[in-house]
Symmetry: C3
Subunit: 354 residues, 3 copies
């Protein structure tokens, strides 16, 4: 595509540089690696330092970018757009040849129960197993080695990458993506102590419901409910190695980064953003639009929507950050405190001596 074609297609505005004689854009690249013929973008200010040196043919920048920052770079064309990253993604998708990693059709080695139901155009990879009375919707692709339990229902247009396990009786909506090694519907962690100090297993008789448009990362685990359901609502995105315990509810369009753990019966609101390695206690409720920063520990309800939290144990982000900064000053303060105590004792003595 020519630069003009790209700018027009993206609704962008051309700035700086001489457009004549520039090569066509045939690939995209990172700003620090882009060469002639490449399109790149600037979204994160951390990368602004590359504006003066990038060898890209064209750079997508924000309409807000101060044009002074790109002065004197006549060899590069800048295209100003509303959201340079999203614009870049559109070009990326268009220019990158992709392959479909799923094989089509039903592989001859797939073991599909005669009582299971497969939708139109559903595909099933080698060595996948689909249990009794399971249902797989139209156009859904089941990767190699996936195990779908009895009575489990999977909607339309889902992608299950290889070696996913879904236990019996779970329900997945449409357009759900599950990455390899994800386990859905394993038993919740429930054991009642007996008088002799051993434990009795609490039967986990509920299910997991994963609603439409959810994506779940590799090796993430979502436990089935004691009774009722563990529920991942529409549009939720979950990263790798996340643990979701029994009876948890994750609200619509909430995003959860890698290695976070949510304890039993906790309810996360809608549109929350939860960082990596966060831990949430059981039986608490988190308001909509809450932001929880990485590695925080949340032990109590969060009732007011739209606030940010940080720390272990967590506090409102600004307050927590002040506390952590103060903590770094603590060793110096302790030294000064000892000196001050001595000084006050001196003063006291001097006053007595008069």
């Amino acid at each position: 595509m020519t630069i003009r074609e790209i700018a027009e297609w993206l609704g962008g505005e051309i700035a700086g540089g001489i457009i004549e004689g520039k090569p066509e854009i045939d690939r995209v690249a990172k700003i620090e690696e882009a060469g002639s013929g490449s399109l790149t973008f600037l979204a994160n200010p951390r990368y602004e330092k590359h504006l003066g040196t990038t060898e890209a043919t064209a750079v997508l920048v924000s309409r807000e970018l101060d044009l002074k920052k790109i002065e004197g770079r006549a060899s590069v064309i800048f295209i100003r757009v509303d959201d340079p990253y999203v614009a870049f993604l559109h070009v990326l998708k268009r220019l990158t040849p992709t392959i479909d990693p799923f094989t089509s059709g039903i592989h001859s080695t797939a073991v599909i129960s005669s009582k299971a139901t497969l939708g139109k155009n559903a595909s099933v990879g080698a060595y996948a197993v689909i249990g009794e009375n399971a249902v797989v919707g139209d156009n859904t692709k089941i990767g190699e080695g996936c195990i779908i339990g009895m009575q489990t229902q999977i909607g339309e247009d889902c992608l299950l990458y290889p070696n996913v396990v879904i236990y019996h009786q779970c329900i997945l909506g449409n357009r759900v993506v599950l990455h390899s090694g994800a386990v859905i519907g394993s038993d919740g962690f429930g054991f009642a102590p007996k008088p002799d100090g051993t434990y009795e297993k609490i039967p986990q008789l509920g299910i997991v419901v994963v609603e439409d448009d959810v994506e779940i990362g590799a090796n993430t685990t979502i436990d089935r409910a004691v009774m009722g359901d563990t529920r991942i609502q529409r549009g939720v995105k979950i990263d790798n190695l996340v643990q979701i315990a029994h009876n948890v509810v994750v609200g619509e369009d909430t995003v959860i980064a890698a290695q976070t753990g949510i304890s039993g019966s906790t309810k996360i609101g809608k549109h929350c953003m939860i960082g990596g390695q966060v831990g949430l206690s059981g039986h608490i409720e988190i308001a909509d639009y809450t932001v929880i920063m990485a590695q925080s520990g949340i032990h109590d309800n969060i009732k007011e929507p739209g606030k940010s939290y940080f720390g272990y144990p967590a506090d409102e982000a600004r307050k927590a950050q002040r506390a952590y900064i103060a903590m770094k000053m603590l060793p110096d303060m302790l030294r000064e405190f000892t000196a001050l105590k001595k000084k006050v004792a001196d003063l006291e003595q001097r006053l007595l001596d008069r």
Copy 2:
């Protein structure tokens, strides 16, 4: 079952409400969701607020519950029992229809070495692989896609959910439950630095021993020992995504929540309770009956049994909590401290001026 039948079966005592004309109990439910015909329970005081509004036909409560809290709820029957949760579980099990997610028999696609030994009534799912000289005990169920290494021994009445991997030469006792994606017997993480800065792999020649009545969660990993064994003792319950390093010993009836990691050669006592996302250093010993709260970091031996720990780095729980509370007061204190220093300097000056 009628309310009277349930109360009698559980050894409970009926309180409040008019029993005549009440429907039979045909299902169980959470206290906030229960309707007519449901039995529910109250164990966690957090849920006491629902006592006044629940529409359950009957509620299991503790014999300790203050009866004033249920006054005026004539439409609901309360059954007082020793442990409402455990009593509830008994009813739950009795009323809930369950399915056995394991298929019976040896699936025709299972690859079982001619040198392996299978006990009576053992079942093996599709695409499971059982290696040379492996032993599977009576009534043990091996799920689809499980891989059992050479010379590994599995006891009786075990359940291995789909896609579990057990490396060679490991030993499992009876009634062990392994959830999907669990990996038992992978190499411990051991590398000796060489003078040129690269690493030499330390051979991991030991095994993993999992004793009777252990349950291990989905995608949990337990590494084999350098030599000797990594040992999970009788009755231990381990949640999802937990990491147990080489040569660790976990004592009887200890419970470990999700995403906790135990470093090499550490010995955990019996009857400990370890929260989620806890980290334990290597080569330390933890006394029996120790409680470690979620996300704590334990760097040293814990010698006295029965204490609670919290924090990063952890301290005795009460002490640690005081420190964390104090930390939140720190920014204010810093401000006051600066003011106090000024005040003392003023006093000093005034004293000099006289």
Copy 3:
């Protein structure tokens, strides 16, 4: 082997004890468990207490060990070597019978695309799947149930334990070891928010490159790049349940312990040592030879090589440790601070009263 043979083979020096009449060494053991006929070693000073009681026939010790510590132990032979642990490993390897857990040859049930290429002596286990145009190098062993995506290239002498998944188009070097459940090349976690609060998936069009001599633990996940590659450089060792996000670079000979997470686009230097459960923010750079202690949270660039970091949020280790120690003194200090404020107010009053 006789003690003299072992000492000679290791280039060690015999100290203490009477060598005549001692049995041959036919096994190795931990110092606290070793009996007659065993060789053991002392490397970690924590275990020095066992020097006086071990029943081993011979003990490998450092040349630096103070000989006074082994006086009076005539029944035991001490062999002084440069590195007792590494010396011990050599003996361990030589004396321990090992089995090869991989079956040789191509199992009849392996599904190998007719367009895939297998090197000489490559072996493929039962129910493994190798996709279109994938390449497997000479002597590489693919375990049971592994799924190798289309166009993925695996070098020579690699070991893939059972149930590893490698997505399409990834590249592995030579002598790479992947433990069970590892997932290489899953989609990076990238979603662009849309005006209506839902998310648009950002296509993950790059790959993962794993260079020579890398070992990756069980159930570890390494995401493919948005574009370009996520790269694990030569000699890196990664433990179990680690998360490596898209576009991360891990430098040569860096070692990463279990359950650590590295966020997107972060670059880790060479020869770093990263403890367990560490979290690193995205888009940062960590200098070579950096040491990061367990459970730390790293939010900023580390520019100076060779320093140690600790804490949440992390600081230079010495500074952080001082702050954490001070924090434990904080509750007492708060009490004293209140007393001091009162005392100063008293002084002020007395001065006014004159």
